[in-house]
Structures are given as C-alpha cells and as structure tokens.
C-alpha cells in the first residue's frame, strides 16, 4: 500500500495564494541549476463571473471569461483553461464538456453566471529542465489585478519520480508565502470588496421567548428584502431564477401573514395579504411561461416523434408571449407606484437578518401578539400535523382528486411552518423529520404538477378550437398526445401518494412530531402539575391516544385543546367557512368560489383569505379551470370578445401551471 501511495499526485502539488508579490522575485530564489522555459497562457482583461447566489465563491472557485475561453481556479486542483466556448453564454449547461466545465457541475443549471468585474489577468506557465532538458517541475503563476490590488495564485506541480526537485522548489516558494497560505477567501476579499448579495436561507436564530408579533415582523421583513433583492435580476432577465426567487419570497411573506394567526389584527392581515397577492399576480403569466419553456424538452420527450412539430409551434407561441409578459413585468417593477408601495411595506417590515431596525410604521396587533414564539410555533405545527394525519387516514385509491389536493395544501402549510421555525428545534431531529416527509411531499407535488398541466394544456386546445382563426390541428393533436402521457404520470403519482401516506400516518412519524412539537409544552405542563410525571412517559401516552382516535379532543393532550379553542384557530375556521360559499356578483362566481375551495396557484396564502380585489379575469379563469376546465373555459371565451385573443393565449398559459412547479423551491 505504501508503495502505491507514493504515486499519488497530490504530494507533488502545492498551491499558494500571495498578495503583491512579483513572479520574477520568486523565480530568482529557485535553485539555479535548472533551466526555466516560460510561456504566456493568458493575459489581458477577463471578466470575473459568479451566479447571483455566489455559488462559485462559496465553492471556493474563481471563474474568468474572455471571448470564447474560460479559466477556472480551484483551491485543491489548480488552474484550468477551456477554449472553444460559445462567445456568449450564461449557463453552465451551454458549455461543452471540457477541462473547466467538468468542475462546474455543482452550479445550479438555471442560474446565470453573471459578470462581476473586469480583472487584468496574467497567467504564465514555467517549466524547469534538468541537464537532459527533461521537465522535472512545472509552475503556473496566475495574477489577478483590480486597480492597484493584485493577488497571485501559484501552482507548483512536481513530476513523478522527481520529488527532490519538487521539495526544493516548495521550500523556496514557502519563503515568499511566509509558509502560511492566504486562503482563497482572500482572493475574493481583494477583488470584490463591498459586494452585497442577499443571503439565500433564513439562517438567523429565533429566540423562543420572543414575542410572536416581533418574529412575524422579522420574518416578513426578511422575505420582503429577499424579494426586493431579486428585482434587478428580473428586470435584466439574467435568468429565470430571479423571478422564481422573487415569487417564492413573496409567497413566504403571504404565508407568514396567513399562517401566524391571531398575531396581527384581522383587518390589517387581510389588507396586507391582498396587497402582496396583487403584487405577485402580475408576474403569474411570466412565471408560467418560464416553467413551460424550461421544461420544453421534457414535454417533447413525452409525445411520439410525429407529434413534436405541433408542440414546437406551441412553444414558439409561448416564447413570443413571454417577451410581452417580460415587458409588462419590467414596467410594473420599475413603476413609481410599485417602488413607493414596496418602500412603504419595508418601512413597516424593515429588512431583518438577525439585527433589527424599529419599523417606522406600526402594525396593529391581534390577541396572540404577545405569546412567546416558541410555544406558539409548536402549537401551530402540532395542530397542523394532527389535522393532516386525520385527513390522510381517509385517503385511499377511491378518494377524489379534490381531497388529495386539499391534503397537499395542508401539507405544504405544515412544511412552511416547519421551515419558518426551524431554528427553534434541534437541527438533526428536524432534519430527519423533514427527510422522512420528503417522499410524500414529492409525490404530492408531482400529482399536482400533472393535474395542473393537463388542465392548462386542455385550455390551449379550447383556445385553438374557439379562437377566431382556424384551429391549428397540429397543435391540437400534439397536445392531445401530451395530455395522455401526463395523465398516465399523474395516475402513477397518485399511487405513490397512497404508499407514502402510510409512512406519514405511522407511529414513527407520530412520535417524532410529538417529541419535537408537543413533548416540550407537555412536559412543562406536567412539571407544573405533578413533578412525578416525566415528559417522555406522557409523550408515549399521547401517541397511543392519538392512534386510537386522531382527533384533537384527546384527553391526554392538554395543550391541543386550548390551541383549538384559541381565537386564532376559531378565526381561521369561521373565515374559511364564511368564504367558500360567498356569493359573487359576477358571472364567474363559481370560478371564484372554486378558487377558494380548491388548490389554486397561491393556495397557501389564499385558502384562508378572501381576496376582495382578485377580480382580474385572468386569475378567475385560471382558478375556475382547476376544477371545471371545460365549463369555465368556454364561459371565459364567450365572455371575452374575439379581439382579446392574446389574452386568451395568456389565460391558457397561465392556467395555474406555475403554482405546482413552485412547490419545489
């Protein structure tokens, strides 16, 4: 084994980073019995690239671009050059396999590599030759310059069998780098000072004793700032992830608003929800088209070869519609109305990232505003879990899709809650719990994706048949084939749900939920009442009882009752009840009602909220089609005169597809 280890190359490789050191000064100190051959590999000005999420920086990689070449610097493996790249590229997937791209597989394929700054680059390759003119060591010297700052990456590469020479070179090099390397982090420090990027994850700690109202404000502030950080990328259309992130952040804001019941006053909660959903709605169509176009290849693969030209036509239409929608979204985000509205909201919910600014606009509070958030969170999560378990028990192969959709929404709410409050709980246990929820989550997501896709595609067909111009039979036929393929997939996903549900309703899951979200409150109560009982024991009792009945009227469960009777819960119920049958004055009332009752695009935020301003025809049509595609579509078309043909395409496209796809953030 020992003998084999000697062959490993890493012993013959050393990389150091130095600041403001000239190459010649170092080379002069190398043993002079070797001849040096030098050549320039690259020079001139190169663009430093990274994605918006700083994936490259986080991975310790430095990526440079000039014309059709790219250079990659990695702390462990050195410096690589790849040429014959496309002149213009944004996504790693656009690069052919090569010396550099093989190391970029970790970069999100949907994120553009954006130019950050131009650097003066000089990369020299030196070879050291012995008396036989044999290369016995190599050295790459790459210097990056920004104004008067410069940093060099030096990679010394020994040759197998010439270890002595390598050692003497390493010793010489160490004199200059002071023995201790500056890390790769220094390169970024030197080259990109003051560059600000919003953090991707909600990574601040929540103090369990903090007031619920404060935490709610913090979370809204965090996600609002996050959404705003994406605006520039949406407007510039760097990649589709900016809009996706923007919408995910806004959806989180809406979820915090609606899920944290009783913390803000009812009126203000409703008004805020309306406001945020209006902001978001104007981006629905663009996102739908993005999702369609991103999945184009998958769609094409679903239908047999002869059906593909028809789909290609459909996608060409989508692409041109996307350009229009992008213009619209740009105009909206750049409008002074929007800017003012956002500024006002940020005054009410200042950016939060662990440090807090006092809001300059106060938010009227509700009855649970002062609750310590730790207990409040556990109650919310546990209650939601119990509710889902109850719903899940009655689901089998015969249950209607409608019930599966309802389950999905509740499940999503549960997941959101667990994410918002994640830092309150032991990370490993929470991670394990989330992991075991994963299979159900993904099968529910797929089930919804497929059902929404079918509906929206059917609408495209309806549009074709009822539009002014003659229907394009190519498109209609191809979509028919596509819908059939998707339907088969949906049935499969439905079967998967049934399988995953067993795990979710099982004892193991129950004990995990109880331990994390219930045992603490319970053991506290027990401690107060009788010190003889231990939390663990009562926990077990609770599981048994839960198994036996599953409802919240569990005698061993002292905390669930007050939760169920809390004003927040009461509110939620009555609101929902009042809403569903609410009569609508407009002709598309049924559609509206359906939207509230069924999984709609914005379900988490929308289900418990009446959205009084949601009267835009597009949304109504979308919502309606989710349950009654045919009726509503025909109704939609007849009530829309022929001149609105573009908006018909728009409706068809926006038919709720995006909601499902955004499950997977």
């Amino acid at each position: 084994m020992n003998s084999r280890d000697q062959l490993t190359q890493d012993q013959l490789s050393r990389i150091v980073v130095v600041k403001q050191v000239a190459a010649q000064d170092v080379l002069d100190t190398f043993p002079d019995r070797y001849q040096i051959l030098s050549n320039d590999v690259a020079k001139d000005s190169w663009q430093l690239l990274d994605t918006f999420d700083q994936e490259l920086k986080n991975a310790g990689q430095i990526l440079l671009r000039r014309h059709n070449q790219i250079i990659l610097v990695q702390p462990d493996t050195g410096i690589f050059l790849q040429d014959k790249c496309p002149k213009r590229w944004s996504f790693v997937s656009e690069l052919k396999t090569g010396a550099v791209s093989q190391y970029l597989q970790g970069v999100d394929p949907l994120r553009a590599c954006l130019p950050l700054v131009d650097l003066d680059v000089s990369w020299q390759h030196h070879r050291f030759l012995d008396d036989q003119q044999k290369t016995i060591c190599r050295l790459d010297w790459l210097t990056l310059k920004l104004k008067n700052q410069q940093v060099s990456i030096i990679h010394l590469k020994g040759v197998r069998g010439y270890k002595k020479a390598f050692k003497s070179f390493t010793a010489a090099l160490n004199q200059h780098s002071g023995g201790a390397d500056h890390g790769f982090g220094m390169i970024w420090e030197v080259l990109c000072t003051g560059q600000h990027v919003a953090p991707k994850k909600q990574n601040f700690l929540i103090d369990p004793h903090e007031r619920a109202a404060q935490v709610k404000t913090d979370l809204i502030g965090f996600y609002l700032a996050h959404a705003r950080a994406s605006e520039q990328g949406v407007v510039a259309d760097w990649d589709t992830e900016f809009l996706h992130d923007y919408r995910v952040s806004l959806r989180k804001v809406r979820s915090v608003l609606s899920l944290f019941k009783g913390v803000f006053s009812e009126d203000v909660t409703r008004a805020l929800k309306t406001e945020f959903s209006n902001v978001m709605r104007s981006t629905n169509d663009l996102r739908d088209l993005d999702v369609y176009l991103l999945d184009k290849q998958d769609y094409l693969a679903l239908v047999p070869e002869p059906m593909r030209p028809g789909l290609e036509k459909m996608f060409t239409g989508f692409a041109s519609e996307r350009r229009k929608q992008l213009k619209k979204v740009r105009a909206q985000l750049e409008s002074s109305d929007y800017q003012q509205e956002m500024q006002r909201l940020q005054q009410q919910f200042p950016e939060y990232n662990g440090t807090r600014l006092a809001p300059s606009i106060a938010t009227p509070l509700g009855p649970l505003a002062e609750e310590p958030v730790g207990e409040y969170a556990s109650k919310l999560i546990y209650k939601r879990y119990r509710k889902i378990r109850k719903m899940a028990r009655v689901i089998n192969d015969g249950t209607s899709d409608q019930e599966v959709h309802e389950l999905r929404i509740e499940f999503k709410k549960l997941r959101y809650l667990m994410e918002f409050f994640a830092t309150l709980y032991p990370p490993l246990e929470l991670k394990e719990l989330l992991k075991s929820m994963k299979s159900l989550q993904s099968s529910l997501g797929r089930f919804n994706d497929y059902s929404v896709q079918q509906i929206s595609l059917n609408i495209v067909v309806e549009m074709q048949q009822q539009g002014k111009r003659k229907a394009d039979m190519d498109i209609v036929r191809s979509i028919g084939a596509l819908v059939a393929a998707i339907h088969a997939k949906q049935l499969e996903a439905r079967r998967q749900i049934a399988l995953s549900l067993d795990g979710f309703t099982g004892d193991k899951m129950a004990s995990m939920f109880t331990r994390l979200f219930h045992a603490s409150t319970e053991s506290k109560t027990n401690e107060d009442q009788s010190s003889g009982k231990v939390g663990d024991a009562s926990g077990t009792g609770e599981i048994k009882a839960a198994k036996a009945d599953g409802s919240s009227s569990n005698p061993v469960d002292p905390s669930s009752k007050p939760a169920a009777n809390s004003p927040a819960a009461g509110n939620a119920h009555s609101t929902a009840a009042a809403k569903t049958p609410a009569p609508q004055p407009k002709s598309r009332a049924s559609a509206k009602a359906n939207k509230e009752a069924t999984p709609s695009s914005d379900e988490v935020a929308a289900t418990s909220a009446v959205d009084p301003t949601a009267t835009e025809p597009v949304v109504e049509a979308r919502a309606g089609t989710e349950t009654k595609p045919k009726e509503n579509t025909s109704e939609g078309t007849t009530s829309n005169p022929g001149k609105k043909s573009t908006s018909l395409v728009k409706i068809s496209v926006s038919a709720a597809l995006h909601s499902s796809n955004e499950d997977s953030f």
Binding site: N2, R4, Q6, Q132, T135, G161, Y162
Partner: protein, 255 residues
C-alpha cells in the same frame, strides 16, 4: 490494466521506436500509460530524456515493490510515465532462473502499479530467454515489428514455432510491417507473401522507413511531437487504433 509488449527475436527492427511512439499515442488517446524499458541499453529512457534508474539494481525489479515504484518517472507528456532501465537489467535472465515460478514473476511486479495505469507497454530486448518467456506469459498482445525481408520472415517463423512448441497463445502475436520501403520490390513481395501466409494476423498498418523516426534521436521525443503530420507519425497513430481495437476485442484481461 492491459499489457502490450514490443518484441522481436531479431534486433534493429524498430522495436524501441514502436514502444515509444505507441506508448505516446495511447497516452494521447487518454489512457494512463506506463512504458517499461526492459532493454538494458535504455533506449526508451533516452528518447524521453530520462536517466537510467540508479537504484533499481540486481533483482530489485522483481523483489522490491517500493523501489520499483520509486523508479517510475513522469514523462514530459500527460498520462505517460516511464520506468527506465539500467545496465543491471541484462542479468534479468539470471535472476529469473533462480526464482520460483519465474514465468509469472513479471506479471506480479507489474501488478504493483495496476491501479495507476490502463496500459503498460514493454520495450523488450531482442532474444528468446527466461525474460522473454515471462513477457510471453504476461502480455495481452505481443507487437512484433517485421521488416519485410527474407531474414525477418525466417525469424518470425521461428517465433511462431517457439510459441507452438511451448504452448504460448499464438493469438497474442501481433506482427506488423516496420521500416517498409515500398519502392523496393523485395519488400513488396515479402509483404504480399507474409500477408497471405499469416492471414488476419498482421496489422494492416505499415510503418514506413523514415528519416523522421531516425530524428527521434535528435529530438529525444516521440515522432508525433515534432513531425505530427508526417507519414511516420500518422502510421503510429493508426497502428495504435488497430491495436486498441484488438485489445478490446480479443482479450478480456491478463490471462
């Protein structure tokens, strides 16, 4: 890991040139290659500017794994390493004669570096000896350069006879025409006759007699590195492709 041997029981047929250029071509093709110089004259090492291995003395090649590995040198080309010989290699027959299971000795040594290389190319001394028998047993393919002359024809026949008599797999023998001068009628006739009598055994590539191959001694590098577009370099390229094909087809691994 596969092993090919460049071997001929006749000297001066272009063995070392074949070993060096084939090793380079395989490395250029993306395989990790070790060229092992078994010839005490050390010509392979000379072509790669590598000095003789000072510490791999006596029977250390067969007995001392650590030294064997330590003696390996990286060439100036990626994927290509070299084990240089030294004058003590001429006593290999002696050492092998004293060892038990001498036929499998070479294979055992090469296995030390099995995980590091896809291919080992052996540059062999020109005789039939204990060492050659070790080579015959070890190699997956034995590449035999044949100058199309009567004398070479005779030595090739002798080699086939030897394989027949000693039960070595004749299928391993892969001759090709080397140092071909197509303007000579003797070469043409010999090629025609041998191709006929050794049907399918000869590789179709012929390496021409070439000044460029001789110039390897001046450049001290494989011919493809300084005369890439000349016929000689191209011939070694196509020779490599043919051998790769046969390696993939006929042998599943070292037998």
């Amino acid at each position: 890991m596969k092993v090919i041997a460049c071997y001929s029981n006749k000297g001066g047929v272009g063995k070392t040139a074949t070993a060096v250029n084939l090793a380079y071509a395989f490395a250029d093709d993306g395989l990790k290659v070790l060229l092992v110089d078994l010839d005490p004259q050390g010509a392979s090492g000379f072509y790669f500017r590598v000095k003789p291995s000072k510490k791999l003395l006596k029977d250390a090649f067969f007995q001392d794994e650590k030294r064997f590995v330590k003696a390996i040198r990286g060439s100036d080309f990626s994927n290509l390493d070299l084990l240089p010989s030294n004058s003590s290699f001429r006593d290999f027959d002696l050492f092998l004669a004293q060892m038990k299971k001498s036929r499998s000795r070479l294979k055992k040594t090469l296995r030390t570096v099995e995980s590091w290389y896809d291919l080992i190319v052996l540059d062999c001394p020109p005789n039939i000896s204990k060492l050659s028998e070790s080579i015959f047993a070890t190699a997956d393919q034995i590449i035999v350069p044949v100058i199309p002359t009567t004398l070479s024809e005779r030595t090739l026949d002798q080699l086939f006879d030897f394989f027949q008599e000693n039960d070595y797999a004749k299928a391993k023998l892969t001759p090709f025409f080397s140092m071909v001068q197509s303007q000579k009628s003797l070469h043409k006739d010999t090629i025609a006759r041998l191709s006929q009598s050794h049907r399918k055994r000869f590789l179709s590539t012929q390496v021409p007699f070439s000044a460029d191959i001789e110039k390897m001694g001046i450049h001290r590098a494989p011919v493809a590195t300084f005369a890439a577009f000349k016929p000689a370099a191209k011939a070694y390229g196509s020779l490599q492709k043919e051998i790769r094909k046969r390696l993939l087809k006929s042998f599943k691994g070292p037998n």
